[in-house]
Amino acid sequence: MPKANTTPLISFTNRGLYCSAGDFYIDPWRPVDKAVITHAHSDHAKNGNKQYLCHHFTKPLLEARLGNNHYQSIGWNEVVRINGVSISLHPAGHMIGSSQIRVSHQDEVWVVSGDYKTENDGISGAFEPIRCNTFITESTFGLPIYNWLPQHDMYTQIQQWVQNNKAKKTTSILFAYSLGKAQRLLQALAMFNEPIYLHGAIWNMQMALAATGIAFPQVERITPETLREKLKGAIVIAPPGAEGTSWMKKMEPYSTAVCSGWMQVRGNARRRNTDMGFALSDHADWKGLLAAITSTGAEKVFVTHGFQSALSRYLNEQGIWSAEVKTAYGNGEEENENANSATDAINTTITTQQ
């Protein structure tokens, strides 16, 4: 029996995704009382909320990024009830701790994907498709030009590049976001069996991750005292903001590479004045998005965070009801190539089209 058309289970407000039946927000971008957080990236987890609910692995990262707050953490598939609404977290495969949020009330189920990746990277948890009535999906790489190589092939390319640099006694500097991409690189580079040098920003996140108990290769922090000699031919991971700064001087001679899904397009790779671009992404590619959406069996799909208009139009043409939603997501980690631009001055207009 179709229900009377009342307020939807989740609505799009100028503070974020809001569940009125449970009176909580998901990844709000303005301070609220109760926030359920998909993952620790800065465009999804903001400061100033009274209570946070997140995955066990996300908690230490939020503590490192946002300081002391009221955090409650749960495991995947564990159900919490708030005001009669059931909430559970399910692996999203995007980064350590990243979760989709399943919200169910009476006989209706909504899933908020957060950011996700369908390929299992071995550290973020395997993306779990959840059946639901309504799916709110991201679309960072929601165009068919974005199709990733399997992780194994990408890792091989990166390893070969490092190997070539070593042969030339050149330091390999890899630019990667400190949460997510940096850890995958550590995994890809473990085979060299040598300490990997980290920029301070990545080091801090790495220390916070120790609490999750996940094993990583040996790392060393680069400090003003680190000897030049040690860095010769070594492997260095730094955040994109360090690119082109005097911080790099000590590593000369070096070769640089950016690791990001945007490197799929030559123009982007060339615009960054780096020697190499590896299209290694923490988001689903076009095929991944379509597969994930289909496997939810959802009747309605809201698209946020990226190429929402293209993906949403395509879904409608494929017979899946869809609408685009403008959110403040996507101005945070991977999407933001320009480290200086203000992440807080974001567009909060909500437009849902029929």
Binding site: L143, P144, I145, Y146, N147, W262, Q264, V265, R266, G267, N268, A269, R270, R271, N273, T274, D275, M276, G277, F307, A310, R313, Y314, E317, E337, N338, N340, S341, A342, A345, I346, N347
Partner: protein, 532 residues
Amino acid sequence: MQQFSLLVHTLGTATKTNEKLEALATYFTTAPTKDKVWVIALFSGRRPKRMASSGVLQQWCCALASIPDWLFLECYHTAGDLAETIALLLPPPTNTTHTHKHLHEYLEQIIDLQKADEAAKQAFVTQCWLQMNTDERFVFNKLLTGGFRIGVSQKMMVNALAKTMQIPASAIAHRISGNWNPATTTYENLLSAESVTTDFSKPYPFYLAYALEQTPETLGSPEEWQAEWKWDGIRGQLIKRNNELFVWSRGEELMTDKFPEYQALLDKLPNGIVLDGEIIPAINGKPLPFAILQTRIGRKNISKKQLQDAPIAFFAYDLLEHEAQDIRHLPLAQRRLLMENIIANAQHPTLQISPVIPFTNWQSLVQTRTQSRAMLAEGLMLKRKSAPYQVGRKVGDWWKWKIDALTIDAVLIYAQKGHGRRSNLYTDYTFAVKDGDKLVSFTKAYSGLTDKEFNEVDAFVKRNAIEKFGPVRTVKPELVFEIAFEGIAASNRHKSGVALRFPRMHRWRKDKKADEINTLQDLKNLLLTYGK
């Protein structure tokens, strides 16, 4: 083909000139000779005629990838390059075990199919696509669509050839210039010394001037220098050899047929000469604005009226060959004397001499320079009287001393994503001036900002987009820029009634608010003063 696709990949990603040079030299040492000829041709702007339009390639790609046209266009706007968009959209290769063909074999097939029907073309292209990986597809699509602007200049290629062949770069540059067909020319013939004497049309590489950034006093004594106007036309070489006349543009395009006026000179000039000068429209030796030349470029059939209203002349300023001898090693003063003789004997309004501006001290020249716009010149040229004619851009003997650009303050109103290197950033802008309380768009500009500034404007556009029309975003009129340009002309194709020449962003006026910009009337005043 794999070897070539690797070369293109290296040239596209290498950040250091040396690496690119190395990659080219390696290629020229190891690649099959037939392929090498084609690479020289492609990298010097000689490419086979297109066998399929962009629209048709798009259709074939959409059919293979099973995507609608609008989605293809979204992808194209994001990737910014047609060849790359197609390469990324095609489904994975189905047949990778095929025998790999050479670059020249693909090119020969492309040429063979030019006159074939569409079905045959589609079958060929589809079959090639399904055998190739993404990098090879990209390169193959570039062959189909033409245009290999991939971060390698002709000069760099010439240097690489010079290195592998152990021949001076200037000789290589001369040998690969002019009129030759890569399908019928062998590598040995192309680069042999004899080739130059058998091709009568062959121009010399142009000597290019550097911009003078300091005061002219830094050049030393005025007697050592010759001053001329810097004409606002197309740089060209006018050649008469073997009773035939050829006109080349600096872009190494043979323009003889585009400007039938020049044929009148055939009987007036001696054989075995090459003149360097400027292609400009002029009546009785008085230059007309560049905009008039533009009405002639790209037009196949020229009407009587056009020949009357915009007759093209050649303003000669140098002589590179005399009595069939290369005289580029002679000092400018001597070449000039020989040239003046030839032009005086020809006595024809189509062939003008670019006059020498007399001056005894630098200060008087500073005065003369201020009259450039009235002369329809872009400024002055300064050339050392004792210097030989060199190859390419060399510092020291030729300087261009341009007048300051015209400027106007305007507000950014539309933005669009750039292409190629800037495909994910909003870098193509449209600007407006005030007209009462309305804004009137009057020009586009794409260049002049630093990467950092482009990033800043891009972030502004993403946050302040009001409306979208396809790829275009209307933005809040807030950012003010000083737009510099070289010339202004009346135009009924533009809402504002004016068209600018070489507009670019000179400065970001963060100190100015949108209501402090210039007005439409200011633009019209500039048009009155400079736009005749």
